[in-house]
Symmetry: C2
Subunit: 357 residues, 2 copies
DNA sequence: ATCTGCTTTGCACACGTGTGCAAAGCCTGG
DNA sequence: CCAGGCTTTGCACACGTGTGCAAAGCAGAT
C-alpha cells in the first residue's frame, strides 16, 4: 500500500540506491536525475520508513519520556516543553508512565528498550534508586528533571530547579514587606525538595537578621489537606506568625481555604506565599504569590542535554554538568504587595553548577 | 553493543531462525532447545528490536496521540487513560502536539506517517476539517475524542461525551432544588459543545414545565474571564436568576469569583453548576457542583475502538458506531444540595448510538 | 587511438527479525 | 532393511533503507 523507495526506483528506471541518494541529496547523483526523482517522490506521496532507516543508522530519533502521571499540572507543562523541543530537533517522543506497580515499571523499561530510544528523560518527583538502575541498564543517556537521586551514573545527568534559592527569594519577599514572624509549612517528610526549601527559608531569615524559631516550622503533606491542618497549629504559636511560606501551592491553597473558614483575612492578617505556580494559583482568591518553576526551560534544557550526550558518541562528555535553573517570584495578592514579577539575576535565568566529581 | 538474535544463535550453535522460533514459542522447535535458547536469551539480556520486527510484520504496535496541549487538565487525563490502556494492550503511544502554526501540523502528520503508527487518536477541542483531512491521508484508523467534526471518513470514528444529556441532568438538578429562574452562561460562540449543552439546558426546563427566557442566556467565553463578566449582566435581568448553569467549570469559577467580590453568597443567593469536573473544581470555595466527564472511560474506549478497527483488517467494520458516553453529576456545595454523586442510568455509564449512514 | 581521471550508476551487503520450503534426522511399521 | 511419515533444523528470502566498492560512461590530455 505505502510507496517505498523501490517503487520510485521502478518508476524512474533507476536502482533503489540512486533513489536513496537522490532523496538524501547526495552529491553522487546528477542534478537532473536528482530533480526528477525528487519530483516523482513528491507525486507518489513517498514517506520514508523511520523503522527501516533507524535499523540501518543505529539511531531511532526517538526519546523516551518517563513520567509518573501526566495529570500533575507541573509534569504536564514539562512534558509539553519536552515534546515541543524534541520535535524542533527532529526527535519524536514516546510516552511511558511509571505507575506504582512494580511490574508495570519493568514492562515500561522493556518497552523503551525494544523501541530502541536514543535517550530517556525522567520526570518523576520520586525516583527510587532501583528504578533508576533499571533505566540505566539501557546504557542510553538519561536526564532527570527535578528528580533528586543520590546516584548519578556516567550517562545520567539532572536538570533541577534551585529550591534553596527560590525559597530564599520567596521568604525575602516577606521580610522585605516588614514581616518578622514568618512560618514555614513543610511538604512530605522524605522529600529532599523540602529540605532544600527549608534551607532557603532559613537563609532568608539570616540575611534579614531574624532569628530561626523551630516552633514556626509546621509539618504539612505537600497536598491541600496538609495546609488546611497546619493553620490551627500555626495560630497556636505565641506570638503568632503574620506571614507563612508554604512548601508548595497546594499546601498554600489548603491553608488559605482554612483561613477563609476561620475568618482570617489574607493577606491583611496573614500573608501567604507558595511555590510552583500551578495554573490555578492565579484563579484562587486572593491570587497566590508564588515561585514559578521554569517548566518550559527545564523541559527544553533536558532535551538539549540529552542530545548533547547523544552527539558526544556515548562517551560521557567530561565538561558536562548538571543544570540548576532559577525560579521566578510571581507576586500576586496573597502576600499583600502590589502584583509584579521578579526575574532572577536580571535577564539570565540559567546557571550551571559543577556537580560532578 | 546490544545483543541480537544472531548473537544468541552463535552462542547456542543453531541458526538464527531457530532462535527466532524458540523465542516466539513456536511448536517447530524441540522443547529442550527451546528452553536452552530462552535461558540463554535471558542470560545475555536479549531485547527484541521492535523496529526490525515491525518492518517484517507490517505493524508497529504504536498509536499516535494527537493533542493540542497537554496543559489542559482534561486532555491530560485523557492522555493518561489512553497511555494506560494502550500499554495494557501492548501498544506504545507516541505524542504529537498540534500547535497553532500550520507548518508544525503537517510536520507532525509527516512524523506520524514516518513512524508508521498503526492508528491515530485525536484529542483536540477543535479539529479543522483540513487538519482531519491531513490525518486521514495516512489511511489508518482515526478516533476522535470530543472533537466534533462534520465529516467522518470510512476509518474515522468518534468518542464523545453526551453534552446534551449532561447539561439536562445538571439543569434538572437545579429545578429539583426548586429554582424557577435558571440562567445559562455560554462558552465560545463557534463551539458545537455549547450548542448541545444549551439544548440540554432547554430540555430540562421543558421537562420541569418552566418557560425558556432568552434573557437568561448570557454569552461567556469558555474561560474564567467570561464568567466574571457574565455575572453583572445576569444580575441586571428582571426578575434575576436564583441559579446558573455554566458552560464549563472555568466559566463557573470566574463567575463565583465575581460573586464573591460583589458580595453575593453562593449558593444561598445564587446556586452555581459547572461542567467538566476539572481537578480544581473541588478545591475552590465553595466546592463546585459539576458534571464530570468520564475521561478515563473516554480514553479507554478510544483505544479499544482503534484496536477493533485495526483488527478488522483495514476493512471498515460495518457494525461499528460512534460512542457516546454519559457524564456523572457530582454534587458538591455550590448548588446548595448535600454532596453526592449521581451515576447516569444506574451502573452502566456507556451507551452506543448508531450514527453512521 | 589510448590512457587517465572524473562523474554517475548499480551491485551487493548490512541492519534485525519472521517464515515458506527443503533437507536432514529419527522413529515406526511393514 | 527400507519406505514413509513425523519432528527438527537450516537455507534463503523478505521487509525498507543506507553505503562501500566496482563498473560503466564520458571528457580531456598525451
Amino acid at each position: 500500500m505505502t510507496v517505498s523507495i523501490k517503487d520510485i526506483a521502478r518508476a524512474a528506471a533507476v536502482s533503489h540506491s540512486t533513489v536513496s541518494r537522490a532523496l538524501g541529496d547526495s552529491p553522487l547523483v546528477s542534478a537532473e536525475t536528482k530533480a526528477r526523482i525528487q519530483r516523482l517522490a513528491q507525486e507518489m506521496g513517498y514517506s520514508p520508513d523511520a523503522q527501516a532507516r533507524s535499523l540501518v543508522m543505529g539511531r531511532t530519533l526517538t526519546i523516551g519520556l518517563v513520567v509518573t502521571t501526566i495529570t500533575d499540572p507541573f509534569i504536564a507543562e514539562i512534558v509539553q516543553a519536552v515534546e515541543t523541543t524534541a520535535h524542533e530537533r527532529g526527535y519524536s517522543v514516546i510516552l511511558a508512565t511509571f505507575s506504582s506497580r512494580r511490574e508495570r515499571e519493568i514492562a515500561a523499561v522493556e518497552m523503551l528498550q525494544s523501541k530502541r530510544v536514543d535517550a530517556v528523560i525522567v520526570t518523576s518527583s520520586r525516583v527510587g534508586a532501583h528504578y533508576l538502575a533499571h533505566i540505566e541498564r539501557l546504557s542510553v543517556p538519561v536526564v532527570l528533571i527535578n528528580s533528586h537521586s543520590a546516584h548519578t551514573g556516567p550517562y545520567t545527568f539532572a536538570v533541577n530547579v534551585d529550591n534553596r534559592h527560590g525559597a530564599c527569594v520567596a521568604t525575602t519577599h516577606l521580610t522585605d514587606l516588614g514581616h518578622v514572624r514568618i512560618a514555614y509549612v513543610t511538604g512530605a517528610a522524605d522529600h529532599s525538595d523540602d529540605q532544600e526549601r527549608l534551607a532557603g527559608y532559613r537563609d532568608a531569615l539570616q540575611h534579614a537578621g531574624l532569628p530561626f524559631d523551630p516552633a514556626l516550622v509546621v509539618a504539612g503533606t505537600g497536598r491541600a489537606g496538609g495546609g488546611e491542618r497546619a493553620l490551627p497549629r500555626l495560630l497556636a504559636v505565641q506570638p503568632p506568625p503574620t506571614a507563612v511560606f508554604c512548601y508548595n501551592d497546594l499546601t498554600a491553597i489548603g491553608l488559605m481555604r482554612a483561613a477563609q473558614h476561620t475568618g482570617i483575612a489574607v493577606p491583611r492578617e496573614l500573608a501567604v506565599v507558595g511555590f510552583d505556580d500551578i495554573p490555578f494559583a492565579s484563579y484562587i482568591d486572593p491570587p497566590l504569590t508564588t515561585v514559578a518553576q521554569p517548566t518550559r526551560e527545564m523541559g527544553r534544557q533536558a532535551v538539549e542535554m540529552a542530545l548533547v550526550l547523544l552527539e558526544s558518541g556515548r562517551e560521557p562528555a567530561s565538561d558536562l554538568s548538571n543544570v540548576v535553573l532559577q525560579g521566578e517570584l510571581v507576586v500576586r495578592e496573597s502576600s499583600g504587595a502590589r502584583p509584579h514579577r521578579v526575574q532572577p539575576d536580571g535577564q539570565s535565568s540559567v546557571s550551571n553548577t559543577q556537580e560532578r566529581r
